[in-house]
Amino acid sequence: MRSEIFLATIVLALSLSDTRGAFGQASTSDPSDASSGAYIKITQANFKKSVLALPPFLNTGLTGNSALATRYGKDLYDVLRNDLDVSGYFEFMKSDAYLEDPMKTGLRPAGQADNGFRFEPLKKSGAEFLIRAGYRLQDQTLTIDLYLYSVSFSKQILARTYRGSAAELRVLSHTLANDIIKELTGTRGMFLSKIAASRTTQPDQKEIVVMDWDGANSKLVSSHRSIAVSPAWSFDGKMLAYSAFAYRPKDKKRNLDLFTLDLQTNRRFHVSYRTGINSGASYFPDGKNLVLTISTNGNPDLYKMSIDGRSLTPLTKGPRSAMNVEPNVSPDGKKIAFSSDRGGRPHIFIMNSDGTGAKAITVAGEYNSAPRWSPDGKRIVFAGSDRNPANPRKTHFDIFTVNADGTDMVRLTSAKKPNGEFADNEDPSYSPDGRHILFVSNRSGKNQLYIVTADGETEKRITFDNYKYFKPMWSPAFE
């Protein structure tokens, strides 16, 4: 009996000792612990263009203002100004807003050089940045001194000298622009990049052409006297792959064969001439293989092919009679985006570079084609067919971007032709810095080349001629 009582008390003791507070410490929670002071987080800002004072280049040469030198100064200025304008970061200060004539002062601030300029008048005019450039011409060599200043902080940000032949004037100026953008944003601009496209040479002939991103220095690189289309740059920018209709005397008909061109040596290689389609090539980053559409086995399907054309690995197979076309290899080489109508209508798909795991990333739209990866591998740009809401029987193509997982689709274009109808905007590709997208549009009446900022805000026409352009591709970065 006593032992039971004893046991009972022990049990009671143990159970009670678990109640909180028994010899434990009671503490009051400090009210300030929960919020630890006042705090707010601001996650939005109104980003605005910076006001840039960009006076004309100053001739600092000893030979004086010869007509040629003056002309060079103007060309240098025009190229630089166009580049900086297209970047979308700047708003240019008007030439009549200068309170101190920049042509009468030196390139450096007062206090650091004789006849230096003053920051105060620029601040008063509202400038935030100032670019002063001087050039001199000696024989055929151009030397350029570039200074970039922050007017707000009254200090120099960049000072650099450039030298090149007068024939490379545009390259020099583009390099200035790239350096300025790199200094301010941390990533280089795309101003030294190029565009490859197919354009008409005769009403029934198309050849491949390569030009500067701003449309200058346009040169034909193929001469099949036939129809050459779909140029593709290798990742190092040294090779171009394209397709052209080549005549087969034996069959007395033409076949769409694949060619590659070494841009440095100008040598052309006849790489794939399997019967049927050999087109829409896209290089892998290692430059040893490419993926393309081949229809020799019945359906247009995607194949991985060595660049000499010998080894062939099928990546897609239908299903059934579906077409799989327009492949584009991702920047890391691990995925391929392509267009396929296996679901009925052509939609954008992504698969692994070995052909497995194909998944649709667009489900909306009637005809989605020409997918291209962004340089950071996060987004895909493509052309999608859309119905005119006012007149559903009419459709037109617009450029869209979407995340690689299919989310956040954004339309970038919606222009109208002179006849009031919606224009077709097709065949998009990203600039090497991902800030712009190149595409073809018939909004002027004829297929011409245009670029648009990646957020869709500003469009700009690149070509102003009477040719018709098709399937342009923006080159990789050239430095």
Partner: protein, 261 residues
């Protein structure tokens, strides 16, 4: 018999004391070597006493918003009649009649103005006294009437105070956000910084310091400029006065927080 009971009693007592001692030792042992989690005494989230109002026979019908009970104001000793008019000099003997008349008229005006002033002052005093008395009565009423449609204001962490605080911080955030214009060339640079701002009771910014720079002077400067442009801010609610004036408000600026790209 007693010895038997005694014996039983004593052994029972021994057992009892022993058991109590063991219990005590166990608890002490437990408390020393296995302390349980400390008690957290937190402020209650919100406690409102809500009950239907009592019927009050003695108090007047409550008009809690605009109470002006019939309380006789305590007026200072005041003369309510204007002072007697100054002695009028007989118009018969006037060495210079015109000037004298003007003088008199001016004087009359003066004294009348003075008396008007005094009247006005009286009125003001009256009104003030009435107000004070009313406020006092109202306070009395309120103190007595805890029941009825009245919610307690809650404590520091809860209730209306908390709502006020959040509303104020939201307004500060909106003010600074709309003034913030960083340069477009930094839009994709994923920069962020933290600033500490001290705010006075009236909303003026007393100081701003960068706690953690973005690494980019232009970006930092644009944020500081935005805060300057938002100065003066609206006056903060009383519950935030101390903390905003002393510890300050920490502001984190991160415009790429919502980017998915």
């Amino acid at each position: 018999m007693t010895s038997l009971l005694d014996h039983d009693f004593r052994s029972a007592l021994k057992w009892s004391v022993g058991a109590h001692a063991v219990l005590g030792l166990l608890l002490i042992f437990k408390g020393l070597f296995f302390p349980s989690e400390p008690l957290r005494i937190e402020d209650a989230i919100r406690v409102d006493l809500i009950a239907l109002p009592d019927k009050n026979r003695s108090l007047p019908t409550p008009e809690l918003s605009d109470a002006t009970p019939n309380v006789a104001p305590v007026l200072p000793e005041a003369v309510s009649t204007p002072p007697p008019a100054p002695k009028q000099i007989a118009t018969k003997d006037k060495p210079s009649p015109k000037t004298k008349k003007v003088d008199l008229a001016a004087k009359k005006k003066q004294t009348q103005a003075q008396s008007l002033k005094r009247l006005k002052a009286l009125e003001r005093l009256e009104a003030q006294a009435r107000k004070e008395a009313a406020a006092r009565a109202l306070a009395q009423l309120k103190a007595q009437q805890l029941k009825g449609n009245q919610l307690s204001t809650g404590n520091a962490l809860s209730g209306l105070t908390r709502l006020d605080q959040n509303e104020y911080l939201n307004s500060v955030e909106a003010r600074i956000k709309q003034n913030w214009q960083p340069p477009k060339f930094l839009a994709r640079s994923r920069l962020k910084l933290r600033v500490l701002v001290r705010i006075s009771n009236t909303g003026t910014i007393l100081s701003k310091n960068v706690l953690e720079s973005s690494g980019n002077g232009v970006f930092d400067q644009s944020a500081l400029l935005a805060i300057e442009s938002a100065d003066p801010l609206p006056p903060p609610p009383e519950s935030l006065h101390l903390i905003l004036e002393n510890e300050g408000l920490e502001i984190e600026l991160d415009p790429s927080a919502n980017d998915n790209a």
